[in-house]
């Protein structure tokens, strides 16, 4: 399926793409014990807290249903709401800019900063600006952007990339953070310990001068109210308030799906987001402003960058409901073990696995829809009820369709499946193939498991080990048994099956026909 006239996020800019196949990227993380300890501790802590924060709300499921429907309403009439938002922001003295993709957005922001004559900007944590690689673009234009969220600062000073939506430095522990501060922060106190309170105090001292002197700030937005033109940023540390309030010029970059239709809708989302995200009744600070507040020069950049391409897929568009709470990351067994970096994109975890491939087109993130066990925990915790497992299955089919469309001749997978069908459709061929599999005993003698298959079969063991084949196949073993015990086993099997059929009306399946294709049974 391709969507004509709906370009995705462009290549060569920003951070939305896998740099290596997911299994390879994950293998590195899986081998890093420190990382797994950090991740396991963090995700289990926040899982328990979120469950408690949600359990406290009697009407949670009603809020969730309303949240999903409000977002669907936004998506259904996104053109109308964007124009309404633009009118409202402009009426209150703000300027609205439209960016089809990352390159346009970066150019707009760079030009706006240049027009102020400033070479330094402070930034509030923003997924959208990471998605488009804004800091790198500004840097190329000679503009220094300082991240002010504590975790983003840790990531920036560590010359690293974020690995979680809410806690981007989740992969670092306190002593690693202390080492980064001592190495990269010229004004870090020399006797700095790894106490979290001391580390936070060091960051406060480091950033305070920058805040008080900053002339230009760049932010994202959690919500934009079409009805009133109001923007909202939800945060904890106060760095958001600093950036949104003190500088003369404020530039906000926002994905076009961040809209809510009416002021009243905040009553739903200001309950859903904090409890899902930081597991609090309310986050410490939320700032809301409409147009040019308190005499500021305010610019709003509306970003597409693959969102309209996502919107065009009826089975995928609900991913745009996402409010970036990150609850799905913390419950995901794959994320908990592989960590955020393995996903390649700024959007990791289950939501990233459905969002990134849609923003870029599935050809550029073909592994991500497969980076899941489809256990469904992500759907259960999603505050806007995105059915991520169903969407993953849908995107898997898009990946296969896309590969088929681009390959002339069968893909290796298709050829393998065809060969298997030929083998399995004939009893003698199947028996021979099973016996031949014993050749595999040459492998995996030491561990009892095969870690690398040879030749083209290697693809199978890239992401999984294979058990070593047994010395005797089941059929051969069966044939060695005395005839009478074969018959007894077969009839008692049938009897219990008939019972099952009577009791629960189960349909008699292929199981009754024999153990292998072709219906071959003990002779």
């Amino acid at each position: 399926m391709t969507f004509l006239g709906m370009p995705g996020a462009p290549r060569g800019v920003g951070q939305l793409r896998q740099r290596e196949p997911f299994p390879e990227a994950a293998a590195g993380a899986l081998g890093d014990r420190q990382l797994r300890r950090n991740l396991g501790h963090a995700t289990s802590t926040i899982r328990a807290k979120r469950a408690a924060a949600v359990a406290e709300v009697a009407d949670w499921e009603d809020l969730r249903a309303a949240g999903a429907a409000i977002k669907d309403e936004v998506l259904a009439h996104l053109d109308r709401y964007l124009v309404q938002l633009e009118d409202q922001v402009a009426a209150r003295g703000g300027t609205v800019h439209w960016a089809c993709d990352a390159n346009q957005a970066n150019q707009i922001v760079t030009d706006l900063v240049r027009a102020t004559g400033q070479a330094e900007v402070v930034k509030v944590k923003s997924m959208a600006t990471q998605e488009i690689g804004l800091n790198e673009s500004l840097s190329a234009a000679g503009i220094t952007a300082t991240e002010t969220d504590l975790a983003e600062l840790i990531v920036q000073l560590g010359h690293d990339t974020p690995s979680h939506i809410l806690v981007p430095a989740i992969h670092r522990n306190r002593s690693q953070i202390r080492d980064i501060f001592l190495r990269e922060m010229p004004d870090a106190p020399p006797g700095l310990t790894d106490e979290p309170a001391e580390l936070a105090a060091a960051a406060r001292a480091h950033l305070r001068r920058k805040f008080l002197a900053a002339q230009v700030a760049i932010s994202g937005a959690n919500f934009a109210i079409a009805e009133t033109g109001t923007l909202a940023v939800v945060e904890s540390e106060g760095n958001g308030r600093m950036c949104l309030t003190l500088p003369r010029t404020l530039i906000t970059v926002m994905g076009i799906e961040k809209i809510l239709p009416a002021w009243r809708d905040l009553e739903v989302f200001l309950q859903l987001l904090p409890r899902s995200s930081t597991a609090e009744r309310m986050n410490p600070y939320t700032s809301m402003w409409t147009g040019a507040a308190e005499g500021q020069d305010f610019h709003l950049v509306l970003l597409d960058n693959g969102r309209t391409a996502t919107l065009a897929d009826p089975a995928g568009r609900a991913a745009l409901r996402c409010i970036r709470c990150s609850a799905c990351l913390n419950v995901c067994p794959v994320y908990e073990r592989a960590g955020g970096h393995a996903y390649g994109s700024v959007y990791p975890g289950p939501i990233g696995a459905v969002l990134s491939p849609q923003l870029t087109g599935v050809a550029d993130n073909p592994d991500l829809p497969f980076a899941s066990t489809l256990c469904g925990a992500c759907y259960d915790v999603c505050p806007v009820a995105i059915d991520i497992p169903a969407m993953l299955v849908h995107l898997r089919s898009r990946v296969v369709d896309d590969k088929r469309a681009r390959h002339h001749g069968p893909t290796p997978e298709a050829a393998t499946m065809k060969g298997l069908a030929w083998t399995m459709s004939d009893a003698r061929r199947w028996a021979w193939a099973l016996r031949a599999s014993r050749a595999g005993r040459l492998l995996g003698r030491r561990r009892g498991r095969i870690r690398n298959l040879p030749g083209p079969l290697a693809a199978w063991t890239v992401s999984r080990d294979l058990p070593r084949p047994p010395a005797q196949t089941f059929r051969d073993w069966w044939r060695t048994r005395p005839l009478a015990s074969q018959r007894d086993a077969a009839t008692s099997g049938l009897r219990s099956e008939e019972r099952a059929t009577r009791e629960d009306g189960a349909v008699k399946g292929e199981w009754g026909g024999g153990w292998g294709p072709g219906g071959e049974r003990g002779k």
């Binding site: 009603d62 964007l82 406060r204 305070r208 009133t228 309310m282 410490p284 600070y285």
Partner: protein
Amino acid sequence: MSREEILRRIRAATADITSPPDIPRRYQPAGSPAGRTDDGLADRFAERAGDYRATVRRCRAADAAQVIADAVTARAARRIGVPQGFPAEWSALLPDPVPDEPPLDVAALDSLDGVVTTCAVAIAETGTIVLDTGPGQGSRAFTLVPDYHVAVVRTGQIVAAVPDAVAALDPARPLTWISGPSATSDIELIRVEGVHGPRTLDIVIVAD
């Protein structure tokens, strides 16, 4: 150019959507009866604000000036910024009040020990206070730059839940929702109070 292109893409992408969804609002709306008596609301607000390690004091109107001054003294603070429109009878006993008139610049705010303000509305369920830069509240920077904030809440300003607060607020004003002192959990998910905003938040609830 880009504007028209994006709008064109959206219209093409959503052409298949014929029936917009109904929005089911079965959740508890503004004005729900839970804990509507003023006393119940104040109790709950005090408890929830305390959960976020704001220090909460309660008093009768007649004692407000003394309780506010006591709070400031307990922090060993002296120079306290007082915004325009802050009730004079509440600031009367402050050791060294600094009027925000004309508005103090950032450097002057940075040199204060703290500030005292009123608020626009307070939410019992979440322990939140909301400032809208109205009389007695100062600018957004006024309650941000100093390291210590005393917020005075009248019991009549406390609403039950988030929907009540949304209904009571004016989106045209700059709004700051505050739930406890600034905090971070960015290091091993351990909560640390006090990063960039005021590290200390005292709340004084004055009975109407």
